[in-house]
Symmetry: C2
Subunit: 227 residues, 2 copies
Amino acid sequence: VIAVRAIAKTYRTGYVTVTALASVDLDVEPGDMVAIMGPSGSGKSTLMNLLGCLDRPTSGEYRLAGRAVARLSDDQLADVRNRFIGFVFQNYNLLPRLSALQNVELPLIYRGDAAKRRRQIALEALAAVGLADRVHHLPAQLSGGQQQRVAVARALAGHPQVLLADEPTGNLDSRSGQEVMAIIQGLNDGGMTVVMVTHDERIAHHCRRIVRLLDGSVLENQVLDAG
Amino acid sequence: VIAVRAIAKTYRTGYVTVTALASVDLDVEPGDMVAIMGPSGSGKSTLMNLLGCLDRPTSGEYRLAGRAVARLSDDQLADVRNRFIGFVFQNYNLLPRLSALQNVELPLIYRGDAAKRRRQIALEALAAVGLADRVHHLPAQLSGGQQQRVAVARALAGHPQVLLADEPTGNLDSRSGQEVMAIIQGLNDGGMTVVMVTHDERIAHHCRRIVRLLDGSVLENQVLDAG
Ligand SMILES: Nc1ncnc2c1ncn2[C@@H]1O[C@H](COP(=O)(O)OP(=O)(O)OP(=O)(O)O)[C@@H](O)[C@H]1O
Ligand SMILES: Nc1ncnc2c1ncn2[C@@H]1O[C@H](COP(=O)(O)OP(=O)(O)OP(=O)(O)O)[C@@H](O)[C@H]1O
Ligand SMILES: [Mg+2]
Ligand SMILES: [Mg+2]
């Protein structure tokens, strides 16, 4: 479902030029579960933003569900993103003036669900991550880990075909982190493809494969033995 | 240096009322190194904000270096905070329009260092956390873990007497996390008092004591055996 060839990304702004990704190849089959690891600054979030069609590569090819993303217009790109991909941002990216419930409902509007159905789906997603008693709180009225769980609920509520999660458990205690992984694992068992950045080896071992980045290149692409 | 008695905090806004801290007692001696742990939403950041004089408790007493904080005016509170405490926020709280270097220099202005000395101190702090080649980047031009390390450099550059760090390594790979802990450990050996929130048991075991919160109360206050 994801096929990346020689993808590169160089940031150029003012007098700052950084080659965040030098050249990355990556194949992800439908239903696969891949962990992306690597030191701080090695290009993980940059790669995730390219996979999530939130940014365009400087060079290289990216095919999502067989379609060449580079040839899509901005509108088509947004359409692919909304219909196809659930994204958990490293900094959550919750809208500060919307409640937890409204933040989770927002992507569902795009999918055309009726208001009542949207509310029910969003309430179930928030209950699944343990926030049933915080649904009307604004992000500023939530703890760091609660905000992170709202971001996870928002990405999963619409049952996307592909989940791209950038550090989905970094601010969670181990029990809350395992609860989130159990939800992701369950959806992966149902066929959802998962690509996840993590610094935590225990979280990575929920996945079937670990891709390690170093200085913008793939250092290792290792299948984990089952069990 | 920190003496907290029966401190409580209830948030009341609109129709939301949450008792984040029910009643917490805490004593921290000068030069001590304490880890605060507990599930997501258990009140750790709320406690750190009270210890850092960024918020006032609903009830209870807090004495910092022997002075009753409740009786200080807002100006005196800001003065104590700037002269005494280095704070690492869970969401970094970097100023988006300042470079990494300018963010680290900002608290030093308050301390009256000359411009040349400030620049030198800030450059050393950023080099110590491995960001010598990112000093002119804006926060948006830095990775998540790089932003976190700028926040650590900013809190430590002025060699505060007390470091309050809310999850200082959550977004760092284990090597960068150990590098940050080595810096904090070194300053603690030199007499800096450290109170740190963490979800990571390995990071917590750099400390001498672990205080575990649950639902806004202290569940456990456990001294770790040396070595
Ligand atoms: N401004 C606020 N208004 C209302 N409730 C709040 C506010 N800030 C925090 N809370 C609530 O207070 C409780 C404690 O929050 P706090 O941020 O201290 O938790 P925490 O232990 O730091 O959690 P985490 O590990 O997820 O960061 C949470 O349940 C949260 O929803
Ligand atoms: N907008 C930008 N402009 C310039 N450089 C950038 C920009 N965004 C990121 N970078 C740089 O690109 C490199 C890769 O950043 P990226 O966010 O992908 O790293 P990461 O692997 O996600 O790190 P972390 O684990 O700390 O989140 C970093 O060195 C960073 O400084
Ligand atoms: Mg990142
Ligand atoms: Mg917190």
